[in-house]
């Protein structure tokens, strides 16, 4: 099981860089930053974190491809993967509506955002390959472009995608990627919490149906107390046993009542569960 932290918004991006450096020293395996127009630029922030760290995995949480040019995303992710010596992961999804869509005239229709996400994944894979790439999509057209350099990681930067279980269209997208952020749906289509049994079902499905040979991660987010290892273990251990491979601690959930930046820092210094 690997443990990451998700950092929230701070006016001063340097504060996030400092927290990331402390997280690496405290034994965390990954640092993730929010990606949305409402906040400081995640990619510039991650570039700064990459330059100041050596070991932690880096990523956004998460990048909604529908409001990006996939080729710009391909370029900044490849550059960042090289700068970080191959530590990037790319979590993607449709994106929460309040992260910068409607107010900028971006696409809000869910079906179209899903199409843009799928085309974006096609284009990322094509451009990252470093081979001559052309594409005729509904929304994007590319005419014989060869990107260089490729990302540092081979065959690609691991892509984690939000997967709505048990929706098959969503899960088919998951099979093309390198990890899932499960979003459970009940029979009425409403979201509910993920249980260890859900994780087991997802793991079984992926193992039975995935043809990619890259490692596959199951990623969950939540909060655990940093000063009570036993209580933290009751949350995390059943998930790890069921197949979760990454636990992302939402340190942003802790702080506002407990001192903001200092509260986050305290949780980070306590280390992973």
């Amino acid at each position: 099981m690997r443990y990451g932290i998700t950092l929230p918004y701070e006016d001063d991006p340097r504060a996030l860089v400092d927290l990331a450096v402390e997280a690496e020293a405290a034994g965390w395996d990954g640092v993730f930053v929010w990606d949305g127009i409402t906040w400081n630029d995640a990619w510039v922030t991650l570039a700064a974190i990459a330059a100041c760290t050596e070991r932690v995995r880096l990523g956004t949480m998460l990048t909604p491809i529908s409001r990006r040019r996939p080729w710009k995303l391909a370029q900044e992710s490849a550059t960042l993967d090289r700068l970080s010596n191959g530590r990037l992961v790319l979590p993607v999804g449709l994106g929460a509506p309040d992260t910068g869509f409607a107010n900028f005239g971006e696409e809000t229709d869910r079906k179209i955002r899903a199409q843009l996400l799928d085309e974006g994944l096609d284009i990322l894979n094509g451009l990252w390959s470093g081979q001559p790439f052309s594409y005729q999509g509904q929304h994007n057209q590319i005419d014989n472009v060869t990107f260089a350099p490729t990302p540092r990681q081979s065959p690609r930067i691991p892509i984690w995608v939000v997967g709505a279980w048990p929706r098959m269209k969503s899960m088919r997208r998951v099979l093309r990627c390198d990890g899932i952020l499960p979003a459970m749906m009940d029979e009425q289509g409403k979201s509910r919490d993920t249980t260890p049994d859900d994780i087991r079902a997802i793991k079984q499905y992926v193992e039975a149906n995935r043809s990619e040979t890259t490692p596959f991660d199951i990623v969950m987010e939540g909060e655990t107390p940093g000063d009570d290892r036993e209580r933290a273990a009751t949350v995390v251990r059943p998930l790890a046993e069921a197949g979760v491979t990454w636990w992302l601690e939402n340190v942003w959930a802790t702080p506002r009542e407990q001192g903001g930046l200092e509260g986050m820092r305290k949780r980070i210094l306590q280390g992973p569960s």
């Binding site: 330059a51 040019r69 710009k72 900044e76 107010n103 014989n144």
Partner: protein
Amino acid sequence: MKYGLELSNAGACGDARTLAELAALAEESGWDGVFLEDYIVHWSGQNARTYDPWVALTAMALRTERIRLGTTVTPLARRRPWKLARETVTLDHLSNGRMILGVGLGNGSDLDFAQLGEETEDRRRAKMLDEAIDVLIGLWSGEPFSYQGEHYQVRDVTLLPRPVQTPRIPIWVGGGWPRKGPMRRAARCDGTIFFKVPEQGDWADMTPADIHALKAFVEEQRSETLPFDIAIGGRERREDWDAERVFIRSLADAGATWSMEGLPPADLNVMRMWIQRGPLRGV
């Protein structure tokens, strides 16, 4: 007079870590700024290694303390202005207020435009550029901002934090001198990084008369008393350094404020040597 380096965003040095090292070297060697090209697919050929200039500039910012950093130039028509607004502000904070944003039209025939389904028609790109400048300035203000353009719409957005620099991150307008569009655009921005449209061949140096004319035009159009930069150069250093110094001196006397030396992509050791020799000072 300030002295800047213009680096390709491709080539053997097409990598953020290397650029950070070169930026640190430039700062030690007396340069006042380092500026990057901004291409997704480099004009020099399909296999040229390029990097995202914003990721690279971040690495460069963390390795330096004094030099200005920026792009010459970013073609706004293939960017979402709000994403660019965020990149530039975050970078301005990480660099303690050293960002400069060069903006331009791009070329419809550029691989970046033609082959990625971007806008290739000049007039539409010009309109997108002008609207994007409006949106950048509005979002950088930190005030509630709305915009109803032909190409961009923003509905009541307040982006914080503001840039470190006040009143804003300087915008330098690229383009061909003496074309009307770039001149008009420059008058509402903070500087120029023009090339001179050659009467024949593919390069012409600006002359002192050109600088006088540009300065007069800008002063007439601009109501603000804020600083305005006129950047010249952008080509490689010629062999006769004395003649170059005299040339730079003459443009400085006419009102140019930045002299830019372009370094073509080359072997890393060669680039280090070029940077270490320091700027050719006209004054």
